[in-house]
Every structure is written in C-alpha cells, then in structure tokens.
C-alpha cells in the first residue's frame, strides 16, 4: 500500500512521576506500555516522524481562556503546564510548517475543564486544547478552528468554553450521555444564540463498533467540516472508545482509530482519555501515529482482535443512521434558528450546575450573553462554588464588535466587589486579564 507520507511531529510526555492518586486511572503507568510499543516499533527512526520535547505553558496561556478561582497557580500543578505546553508545542510545529501535522501524546487530559475552574472534573483541571487554540490565535491571528472530540466521554468542557464562539466548531462523538459520564452531549446542545450550529453532538449507543464511528465520520463530520471550512482541524483524541476500555462500553478498535485519523486528517491531535493502558493504548497510538504520518497501518491490530465478535448489531446501525440524519437536519437549519431561539431578548441567560467529580466541588453558575449579530457576544458569569467562593467574570470575546466591547469595559469599571470574592475581566483581542 503506498500512501502520501507526511511529516509528523510527536510530542510525547507520559509524566512518569505524576498521578491524581496511586490507583487512579490517570496515573504514572498510563502511557508506559504505549511508550514501550512506540519505541519497540521504532517509529521515531522514521525520517518523517520527529519527536519534540514539550514546552511549558504559562499562566498567561491559561488566563487567556480560563477563569481560575482564585488564580491559575492554585488549581494546577506543573504537570498541567507541561501537558498544555505539549499541545502548544504541537501547534507551534504545525503553524511554523516544521511538520505537516502533530500529535501531542501527553497527560493529564483537559476536555472536561470548563471556562471557570474551581477544581478538577473528569480528571481535567485546565482545557489543554482550548489553551492551545487561543495560543494559536494570539500568535498566528484569528483562525477558524474545528475541534473534533473523539473521546468516549462528551467533551463538555470544550463545548462550554466555545458555546458562544462562531469561529470555533466543536464536534463531539461519544457514548450516549444517558449511559456515561458526564451525562450530556445530545444533538439539541447546538451552540449559543450567536453561534448556533457551532456545537455538534452525536451520541452513540453502547457497543458501537468501527463501522458506526466511520459512518458518522463520513456522513456527519466530513460534510460539516467541508461547509465550515476550518483553517485548522484538531482531533481531541480520546482512546476510550476501545473495546477493552474498563470505564466505557464501546467497540472501537486500533484499526478504526487509524482509519478515522487518516480520513479526518487533523492538523493537530491531542490525547484525551483512554484507560485500557495495556490492551488498547499501545496499539491505538501506533495506529494513529502511522496514519498521521501516511505510513501503512494495515498490520496494526490488538493481539486479541476479533472483528466478528466486535461487529455492531443491525439495530445499532439503524439507530446511528437516524441520529446522523437528525444532526444533519439541525445543521442545515442552523441559520434560520436564531429568531426562534432569541425572540425579542437582548440577553440570554443559562443556569448551570457543575459538579467537579475529581475534587468533589459543586458550582452554581449563571451565564449571560449579549445577543449580537456582529460577534460572539459579551459574556458575564456569576459563579458560586460550595467552597464558599463566589466570583463574577466579564469576558469580551475574540473578534469582538465595538458595542460588546464598550459595554463590557464600562460594566467592569462600574463593578464593585460586594458579595464577590473576585472580579475578573478577560479580553481576548487585547490579551488582557484582570483579577480584581
């Protein structure tokens, strides 16, 4: 089989000295066997696969997208700066055209981390893809970016962060939220009033196999990407859809992952979840790296792989076809939906209850967005966690219109602390972050 070879950057950081707790899935051992397999296969000896040392993300990189309570240094450790730094290094290598694409094989993951961070949820403290995306925009100008989240868990953090951003398309395929953490990610979660259709969710039934994933890729993801015309495609590459994953119920294989990455052809892939550390990750990662580098992955498979035993039922196939059709229907109507969603409101509020399962923190949040036809809209957030911390944040979006900007600046100037422990002001265009 001859394919077009590509130059692929690999940022590998297994953090062999960091764990959430000794027996936690997110522990030292997680990428041990992946490293063994990548080294044994000799992938780094290929001239078109180049390993880079991750850089360190900075607090400024985090503050560009997150509101950390009370500040970034209190919710992260060095490991987060390195894994976000690894994602940034991957992006840098691609943006500077040193490589054609890059894979940040780093931990800990980030896709459950939302805009406001009171602690860790779903093993994530900060959202490493979002930090990377805003780093790209800061240094390489405004870009249309598509994030395709192929982790088995709904990428709720990434969705929440980009809910109002018309320039960031978030597509998540995942095991149906009625059967798995975090319980969200249904087709009707479709983006905020100023960014309708910029959030796409395709929940898949348990026991979906390669066939189902690739069907959604061909019939939903690729057509939407073609219309969105992104400058950059990012794969938020969780590996827990694998048939051996201990905390999920899907039937995806290493071959399936490799095919998905070949077809999707992401510019950047970032590792997210995946906890079958011995039976899945070594093979899935070798498959993804070969696929990204345009090398023959046809012989990559798990030693116990049995296609027949993993085949999805006819019922599942039909269910996925119906879901896909439903999502495409919504996508086609996205531009006409604003009127009915917004009505005569000038502002739209949404109330959120956020549970930080990893740290056991509950947060009540009220988010308000200004309805705007010219930008993503001014956002204000009132957040109260059961740690006793209540904060208020004003966020001026990237590529903001003058009206949203003036209103945001004026209200921050007027704001008194009062009942709030902290007041935050985040201005993406001017890269300003104030913690009052």
């Amino acid at each position: 089989m001859s394919k077009k070879q590509r130059k692929t950057g690999l940022i590998f950081f297994p953090a062999f000295d960091w764990a959430i707790s000794p027996t936690h899935p997110e522990r030292e051992e997680r990428l041990l066997y992946t490293q063994d397999q990548v080294v044994e296969e000799g992938l780094l000896d290929f001239e078109n696969i180049i390993e880079y040392k991750p850089g360190l993300a900075t607090v400024e990189d985090i503050n560009r997208i997150h509101i950390c309570v009370p500040q970034a240094s209190s919710v992260i450790t060095e490991s987060h700066l390195i894994s976000a730094g690894g994602a940034i290094t991957a992006a840098e290598k691609v943006m500077r055209k040193e490589v054609d694409n890059a894979f940040a094989l780093v931990r800990p993951p980030g896709h459950h981390a939302m805009k406001v961070v009171h602690g860790a949820r779903g093993f994530c403290n900060v959202n490493i893809e979002a930090i990377m995306v805003e780093h790209i925009r800061k240094h390489y100008g405004p870009k249309r970016i598509a994030i395709v989240d192929t982790d088995c868990h709904h990428g709720d953090g990434t969705q929440e962060i980009y809910w109002h951003d018309p320039n960031t398309l978030c597509i998540s395929i995942h095991q149906d939220g009625r059967t798995l953490y975090p319980g969200s990610g249904f087709p009707d979660e479709f983006g905020g009033p100023n960014a309708l259709g910029m959030t796409i969710n395709v929940p898949l039934p348990p026991r979906t196999s390669d066939e189902g994933f690739l069907y959604v890729l061909e019939n939903v993801i690729m057509p939407i990407l073609t219309e969105f015309k992104p400058d950059i495609v990012i794969n938020s590459a969780g590996q827990d859809n694998h048939y051996t994953d201990p905390i999920t119920n899907m039937r995806f294989s290493a071959q399936g992952y490799a095919q998905l990455n070949e077809r999707l052809a992401p510019d950047i892939a970032v590792l997210e979840g995946g906890y079958s550390i011995e039976k899945a990750l070594p093979y899935v990662n070798v498959g993804i790296i070969l696929a990204m580098a345009g090398l023959d992955y046809s012989a990559v498979r798990e030693p116990d792989y049995n296609a027949e035993a993993l085949r999805q039922s006819e019922q599942i196939t039909q269910y996925i076809e119906r879901t896909s059709a439903e999502v495409m229907m919504l996508w086609k109507k996205r531009l006409d939906m604003k009127k009915s969603v917004v009505g005569t409101n000038k502002y739209i509020k949404r109330k959120k209850q956020i549970y930080y399962d990893t740290d056991g923190i509950s947060e009540q949040q009220e988010e308000t967005v200004r309805v705007c036809d010219d930008c993503g809209g001014l956002v204000t957030i009132d957040s109260f966690a059961d740690t006793g911390k209540r904060i208020f944040a004003i966020v001026i979006p990237g590529q903001s219109c003058p009206v949203c900007r003036e209103e945001g600046e004026a209200s921050f100037d007027r704001m008194e602390k009062g009942k709030y422990r902290h007041l935050y002001f985040q201005d993406r265009d001017r890269d300003i972050y104030i913690n009052k």
């Binding site: 089989m1 590998f12 950081f13 297994p14 953090a15 062999f16 000295d17 960091w18 000794p22 027996t23 522990r27 030292e28 051992e29 041990l32 066997y33 490293q35 063994d36 397999q37 080294v39 044994e40 296969e41 000799g42 000896d45 390993e51 880079y52 040392k53 991750p54 360190l56 060095e78 490991s79 390195i82 201990p246 011995e278 070594p282 093979y283 070798v286 070969l290 090398l295 023959d296 046809s298 012989a299 990559v300 498979r301 798990e302 030693p303 116990d304 792989y305």
Partner: protein
C-alpha cells in the same frame, strides 16, 4: 606494559605504554586486504628489543567489521522474523531472504501468539535451499521474553553454520534496530571468526600469553575469545578509540568537547563530567540503524583536505576530498592550503598553496591572503555550528518525567580538546568561538592506539521485574527467574549489579575496573480493576566507559 594497536583505514598505529607513560609509538600503512600483515608489521616494529613477557595486556581496535559492511563484503543472511501485529513487512529493514513466521510477545513479555514448529522447519528448509548458511532470528519484544527466539533456534538445530538471536544483541527495545543489528552480526560472523582465530594464533607465535582485548563501539573492551559471537559490537570502534585516547590525555572531569579533525571529516564527541556520552539506542552504519551500544559522535564532511571551491561568489568547503592538500601535491585547494598560506603550519610547499588558492581569490575579488583567511574562518565556523547544534540536540532530548523536565541537567562545555592534523592551527579560534579553553593533547597522532590501550571493559544489563507475574527477565542474557511478589527495585538493582559483575568478569574485566552505575530505575504500580496487582520495575545498570584503574591523570602521558 600495555600494547595498544589501532588498525585504521589508512594507518595502523601502535603504542607501548609502560607505567602509564608512552614508551614507544609506531605507525605503518594499513594493508586493507591483509590486516594481519599490518598487525604483524606494527607489532614487530614496536616490540623489537622488548621482552614480550613484560606485557600485561594487548588491546586491538580494528576496522575489520566496519570495512566489511561499508564495502559490502558480507555473507548472505536469511532472517526468520516473528513480527506479530504492528508495522507491515514493507516497513521493516529485512534482507531479501526473509521468512515471516507466527509468534508474538507483547510489551509485558507475555506470549500473545504461539510459534509453529512446522512453519519454522519449513522456513529453515527454504533458506537452506537458497544456499544460506547464516541466519538471524528476531521476535518483537524478544528482550522482554526471549523464550520464542530460543525455541526457534532449538527447532532450527544445526541446519545453519550460525544463528544470531535478536535478544542477545541488546537489552533495548526497538524491533527494527534489533533486526538490523542481528542481520549485521550474522553477516560478519564468519569473517570475524577467522580474524579471532588468526589473532589468537598470531599472538601465540609472538610469544604473547596475556589477555587480548578488542575495542567496542562504546569505547570499552572485551576479551577477544569472548567477542567471537558478537562481532557487531566491534563496528565503528575506530572513532571510539580516538575519543578514549583524548579522554586519557585530557585532564577532564567536566563537560567538554572533543574534536578529531581529520582529512575528510571532523568527528565531534561530548564529555559530561568527563564521561563520553553514549548514543541513546545505538550507532548507525551505512544506513543501518542499530542497537549497537556506541559513543555518541557527530561527523561532518569537513576536514583539512576537503575541497574548497567558489560557487556563485560564495565559498564552499567539502564534503568531498580528492587527495591531500595542493601544497602536498594534491589536485585541489583545501583548508590546509589556507592554513599554509596564513603561516599557521609549516608543512608542504607554500608556493603550491598560493597557486592553488589564486583562482578562488580572483572569483572573490580578494587577495590570496584574504581568501585564505576567509577559508580558514569559514571552516572554523562550520565546525562550530555543528558542535553547537549537536549540544543543542543533546540538551533538547525529550524527557518523560516532570522532575527531569524541570530539573534536567544541561551540558555546558568549558574545555575543548582538539586532535588531528589541523589541531594546532584551529584549536585557538575554535575555543574562542565556543567559549571553551582549548587544549591540544600531546601524542594526539596516536590517540586512537592510546585509547584502545587504556580502555576498560564495559557492559550493560537491562532488568525487567514484573511482580504480578513474579518474573525477572534479563533479555540480553536470556535469563528469566522467579521472584517473590514483594520484590523491590532495590533488589532488582542488587540482582543487576551482581549479574553485570559476572558478565563483565567473563568478558575479561578486572575487578578493580567494575565501576557500576544505575542508569535507569523506574517502578510503576500496575493497577488492574482499581487494585494494585503488582509492580513493573525497570532497571538498567552499566559499567560506564572509562579508563582502566591505576591510570590517573597526574601521570600525564
């Protein structure tokens, strides 16, 4: 007395070292087709009027293996490969006569697919029919569990003259390199066997009865009789000899750069705290990426005899060489000619150098002296750029722990050691550019032979302990032993030290040279279904490259 001999591509050098002082040196041209003749000539020259009974050891460094590979004077090898899932055959570095067979060991050393006796017999018969007498047997992850490779060798029996087994080549992972290494080992096995026999016979005839050692690519030595089955280890020992020689002549226990500026190339090596750095996985020869433990060097195509020309108004130096400098009768102008014009060296005929540089001076619209100066500076600049990029590469090597990421040690050389023809002329300016104090070691013209003479025996072992499976594996030794479930990394290190000691002594090491260090020590909790099932312990121990005991730098050579 110690006799050190380096059979190089052009010259065979010998030194006789007495009480750590050079007593004699000898140099003869190498007869590439009859290495033994060169050996005989240099030995008789240097041992004339000496009492061979006073010799304590003899160390040889030879280009035999290297040349055989470079000149493709090697045996056909059949490979029997159990690759399991992963890379397809088209992406593996296998020769024409290769049989892929069933069988697979996974990353933990667990057999995930069985081998098939009939299939192996068929493969053996097929290779025999092709007229092949030498084979290599390699399985994926065989260093994690050598059982299948050993079984395959057993099934093949005595069908072939020689079978090299992959797990014996190195304890490192890397299937593709394991294939390449095993292939090369088998390909030069015959040639090397004969060489060992010849050497043993030769020293016997000379009345020498002390241990004879061979230099390896990692700058360590091993007993020639013990080396017979591992000829691949002697590949690229030439550069290692020079580096060890520089080490012996340098008062160096800090970070330093060693340069060997030859006629065609400049070889760069780096010392960290006075210890030469090793390649991460292994050396590369003729495009073969191997697992052969070797000193980490970088070679650039720029030497004293590189051709200098002018292209589109710009100076270009090397990488070609067509004979010596013009001042010495060569056909083209070279950096050496520039140095002669600048009176930095007194060799050759300055008139010829001037004439050779003239056409370039005209193209550059400069005087011949100015042109010579520009050539000299450009040559220095190219070497400096290569040294800096080499150091940067070493310092930017990926690391896998937060600790190393934040506390990682950076190499920052303070001293520069230069050997080779242009050393005297170039050391000063190079030291200036690199902010290092320059040194030109004495006797540097025989650094290679001195390095061979004084190198100690080196070895390395990789220990994998899996307490869930209660199994300790030392792949490259073919050892698997049962351990208790509470086995610790301290115990793994203790086992490693003891086995390494035994291995090194068997290779000819002296007890006083066993400077063992732990180069890797990792311990992982293996958690299955939320409880700790055992520990995965990984330890590497080595005898680091260095000089034999008793040699101290106060006794400057």
């Amino acid at each position: 007395m110690i006799l050190g001999i380096d059979v190089g591509g052009t010259h065979t050098d010998a030194v006789l070292i007495d009480n750590f002082k050079i007593r004699k040196k000898a140099k003869v041209p190498t007869d590439a087709n009859h290495l033994l003749n060169s050996l005989l000539k240099v030995t008789t020259t240097i041992l004339a009027a000496e009492d061979p009974a006073k010799l304590q050891r003899v160390v040889l460094s030879t280009t035999l293996s290297t040349n055989a590979i470079v000149q493709n004077k090697i045996k056909r090898v059949g490979m029997i490969i159990a690759s399991g899932p992963g890379l397809p055959p088209s992406l593996l570095p296998v020769p024409e006569n290769t049989c892929f067979i069933a069988g697979y060991v996974n990353h933990r050393g667990i057999i995930a697919a069985a081998i098939n006796t009939e299939e192996i017999k068929d493969a053996g018969a097929k290779l025999s029919r092709e007229g092949i007498d030498h084979v290599g047997v390699v399985g994926k992850f065989s260093t994690r569990n050598p059982e299948q490779e050993l079984k395959i060798a057993e099934i093949l029996g005595n069908r072939f003259r020689h079978a090299s087994l992959g797990h014996r080549m190195s304890g490192h992972l890397n299937f593709r390199r394991r294939i390449a290494t095993t292939y090369l080992n088998s390909a030069i096995w015959d040639l090397y066997q004969r060489f060992v026999q010849d050497v043993l016979q030769f020293v016997h005839q000379q009345g020498i009865s002390v241990p004879i050692y061979i230099l390896k690519a990692d700058g360590g030595t091993f007993d020639v009789a013990k080396s017979a089955d591992y000829p691949a280890q002697t590949i690229l020992s030439g550069p290692a000899a020079s580096i060890m020689g520089v080490l012996s002549m340098a008062k160096c226990d800090e970070d330093a750069i060693a340069l060997d500026i030859g006629g065609t190339t400049t070889d760069i090596a780096i010392f960290a705290d006075g210890v030469p750095l090793l390649e991460n996985l292994g050396v590369t020869i003729e495009g073969h990426k191997t697992l052969i433990r070797g000193l980490r060097t970088r070679s650039i195509g720029l030497g004293g005899d590189s051709i200098v020309r002018c292209e589109n108004g710009k100076l270009v130096i090397g990488p070609q060489r067509e004979g010596p400098a013009a001042a010495l009768g060569g056909p083209f102008p070279t950096p050496t000619d520039a140095m002669i014009v600048l009176n930095l060296t007194t060799i050759g005929e300055r008139g010829k150098a001037l004439t050779a540089l003239e056409p370039i001076a005209r193209l550059l619209d400069k005087s011949v002296e100015e042109t010579a100066q520009q050539i000299f500076e450009e040559a220095c600049r190219k070497i400096v750029a290569a040294v800096l990029s080499f150091i940067e590469e070493i310092n930017n090597q990926p690391v896998y722990t937060i600790h190393e990421m934040l506390e990682g040690r950076k190499i920052s050389p303070k001293a520069l050691y230069v050997v080779g023809g242009p050393a005297a002329a170039m050391a000063g300016p190079l030291g200036g550019y690199l902010a290092c104090t320059p040194f030109i070691p004495e006797h540097s013209e025989v650094a290679n032979a001195v390095g061979a003479a004084l190198a100690r025996t080196t070895a390395e072992l990789t220990i994998l302990a899996d307490t869930e499976r209660r199994l300790l594996t030392i792949g490259e030794e073919g050892i698997q032993i049962t351990i208790p479930s509470r086995f610790t990394s301290e115990e793994a290190i203790a086992v490693g030290r003891e086995r390494l000691r035994e291995k090194a002594l068997a290779m000819g090491a002296k007890e006083e040279d066993l400077e063992i260090e732990v180069i890797e020590n990792q311990e992982f909790n293996m958690v299955r279904d939320s409880y700790t099932a055992g520990k995965n312990i990984r330890v590497k121990v080595q005898i680091k490259p260095g000089l034999i005991s008793g040699f101290t730098r106060e006794k400057t050579l």
